[in-house]
């Protein structure tokens, strides 16, 4: 009887704990549900070589979203490069403008760069990423450029300075000529037969 009572109390405790955890999770979800989706529209302008990204944020019913931090990035080989100020906050019209750096190398020979605008960890809006490709980067040189490039210490392997190739080759060939000559002579030694008396 005593054990039954003990078991009953234990079960009750576990049940209360489960209910509590469930309620808490439900509450968190409820809070999450409070967040709404925002919309970002991007506008790109170019005046006197100054490239500007204008982002306008509106809510579901089309009203501008004020005081919201947006994050601007350019996609690089391994990670995202942040551009703009440290904080880019929307004004009363839901607008924020960021200047695009003029000397950023593009991802390809065409000059394409991938620009990303993000809402991150906002209290009121869900995370959002808008991605656009623009021809705003400095095009990277194509293969032909490298092939036509002058010979230099910093060039690709095929364009090493001729003087370096010649001097190193002479050194390597002369030393390895001696090595092979010696190996040949050792072979000759092995072919000399002892005199028979």
């Amino acid at each position: 009887m005593k054990y039954l009572k003990y078991l009953f109390i234990r079960v009750l405790k576990i049940f209360t704990l489960v209910v509590f955890v469930f309620m808490s999770t439900a509450q968190i979800h409820a809070q999450d549900n409070v967040k709404e989706d925002a919309l970002i529209s991007l506008n790109f302008t170019e005046n006197n070589n100054i490239k500007t990204i204008k982002a306008t944020v509106t809510n579901q019913i089309g009203e501008p979203v004020e005081e919201l931090d947006l994050y601007f990035f350019v996609k690089r080989t391994f990670s995202l490069l942040p551009i703009g100020d440290v904080f880019n906050t929307t004004d009363e019209n839901g607008v924020v403008e960021v200047e695009f750096p003029e000397d950023l190398p593009a991802s390809d020979t065409e000059g394409n760069v991938v620009i990303l605008v993000k809402i991150l960890e906002s209290d009121l809006y869900n995370d959002l990423t808008v991605e656009t490709t623009k021809k705003w980067g400095v095009p990277i040189p194509d293969k032909e450029y490298y092939q036509q490039n002058e010979r230099s210490l910093w060039a690709a392997a095929a364009n090493a300075p001729m003087s370096l190739i010649v001097s190193i080759s002479i050194m390597i060939l002369s030393v390895w000529y001696v090595i092979f000559y010696i190996l040949y002579k050792l072979y000759k030694i092995s072919k000399i037969k002892p005199y028979k008396l």
Partner: protein
């Protein structure tokens, strides 16, 4: 493998017994020594397994100190390997007769050291499976490629240098050693390549010996100069010096001489070669070590005086760190106990006797290893270009146990290769001592002249 040792070994002379005895007889001490070395190697291999499994993160190398003790150890081994050229080329071509019994030891050490240097470079790579890319995509403009080329070349030359000096002795082993296992007999038979002391053979061997003796010298200078250029062409304080090539080469000859003294002491003691490696050899080696140390001392002054006088920017910071900063104790210990005091002590005849000189040489060797640590690591901790997001761990370098285990294993491998080569072949040139080659070559010359 079935071992069959047919009979008791008989020697024709005392000299033959002295110089070939150790090949026939394997002592318990030898087996214990090999076991200890293997133990170190196995432990190092476990460290390397962890490095392969988890990556270079198990080492203390980070964004600042990207070359740790592996590279300083590499520089040390390359330095030691130069000793082969010191004896086989410089001393031999200058007809230093006293150095003849030491040539073989120096060549064996050179071969072992250059093998270990080549291996340690691959160990330093995070992805050793990509080593082949060095050859596939290598740029001739890169000093690293120059180093790969010169190390491979020197490795081959060191092997040939050892081999051609061994050849007549291998033939002696083939002809006179009977109480040895079959595999050894086979090894000597193959390696002796029909050597039979024929006058023609002797003439060819002497000729290629001379050619190689001359060829090895520029290659040896090049190997350590190119190693120094790995540093001199990298933009870091302390390495931005035109003095680095001769500084490295002179340091290498100094440590090489110390390593020879160390080796000859133990070879003499454990192979009972007191009549062949005499106290005169130690005396001469002591004088040679003083000379080489003085040259290195001169280059040391050149290396540090200029930057220390000017104390410019990061270069000044680097010098301050060495002279009075966190590396100061190591720096002054190395300079005083590894360079200045050995020079002073070795000026006294009594201290050039076997026991004191081997103690002094061990300080020189230790000093030389830590000197390479001081050349590599403090420079890396002062980059000219700023690095973003510097983590606390970048600022210090204390090698991890994996790095020490691998480094110790590399030393054990060096000693293992040396021990095995000494066990397999006569460590003192027998033919040189008996000089039949000299006689036969003279005879053959006479014969030729008579015919003509």
């Amino acid at each position: 493998m079935k071992k069959s040792i047919p009979e008791k070994q008989l020697f024709n002379s005392i000299k033959e017994r002295d110089l070939l005895g150790h090949i026939v007889k394997t002592s318990v001490r030898y087996k214990i020594w090999i076991a200890i070395l293997l133990l170190f190697i196995v432990f190092g291999m476990y460290g390397y397994y962890r490095q392969i499994r988890y990556g270079l993160i198990v080492t203390a190398m980070r964004d600042y100190t990207s070359w740790g003790i592996y590279i300083s150890n590499f520089v040390f081994f390359v330095a030691v390997s130069l000793v082969g050229s010191l004896f086989s080329s410089i001393l031999k071509l200058n007809k230093n007769e006293w150095a003849k019994p030491l040539i073989r030891i120096s060549e064996i050490i050179a071969v072992a050291a250059i093998i270990c240097a080549a291996v340690i470079i691959i160990i330093d790579m995070g992805r050793p499976d990509r080593f082949i890319y060095v050859f596939k995509f290598g740029r001739i403009q890169s000093p690293i490629i120059w180093d790969v080329i010169i190390i491979s070349t020197y490795l081959v030359i060191s092997f040939i240098l050892l081999y051609i000096s061994l050849l007549p002795d291998i033939a002696i082993c083939r002809d006179r050693l009977t109480a040895i296992p079959k595999w050894k007999k086979k090894l000597y038979k193959i390696a002796a390549i029909n050597w039979s002391n024929q006058p023609e053979q002797v003439i060819i061997l002497k000729k290629i010996g001379r050619i190689l003796g001359i060829t090895v010298l520029p290659v040896a200078f090049a190997i350590h100069t190119v190693t120094s250029w790995l540093f001199a062409t990298t933009w870091r304080p302390g390495w931005d010096s035109t003095n680095l090539g001769p500084y490295f080469v002179s340091g290498a000859f100094m440590v090489g001489a110390a390593v020879i003294i160390f080796a000859m002491y133990f070879v003499r003691k454990y192979l009972n070669l007191k009549s062949y490696i005499t106290t005169t050899h130690f005396d001469h080696m002591g004088k040679l070590l003083v000379l080489l140390s003085l040259v290195y001392f001169y280059f040391n002054i050149n290396e540090y005086l200029g930057p220390a006088f000017k104390m410019v920017g990061v270069e000044g910071e680097h010098i301050t760190e060495l002279f009075v900063g966190k590396y100061a104790p190591m720096y002054w210990l190395v300079q005083i106990f590894g360079l200045v005091l050995p020079i002073v002590f070795l000026l006294f005849k009594n201290l050039r006797k076997p026991v004191p000189i081997v103690i002094i040489s061990s300080f020189v060797i230790l000093g030389a290893w830590f000197k390479r640590f001081l050349i590599v690591i403090p420079s890396l901790q002062h980059p000219y270009l700023p690095i973003q997001g510097v983590d606390e761990s970048y600022l210090h370098y204390v090698p991890t146990w994996e790095e020490w285990a691998i480094t110790m294993a590399s030393f054990a491998s060096l000693l293992l290769i040396i021990t095995i080569l000494i066990k397999l072949f006569p460590v003192i040139p027998i033919q040189e001592l008996e000089s039949p080659a000299e006689e036969t070559s003279i005879e053959s010359k006479k014969f030729k002249n008579e015919i003509s």
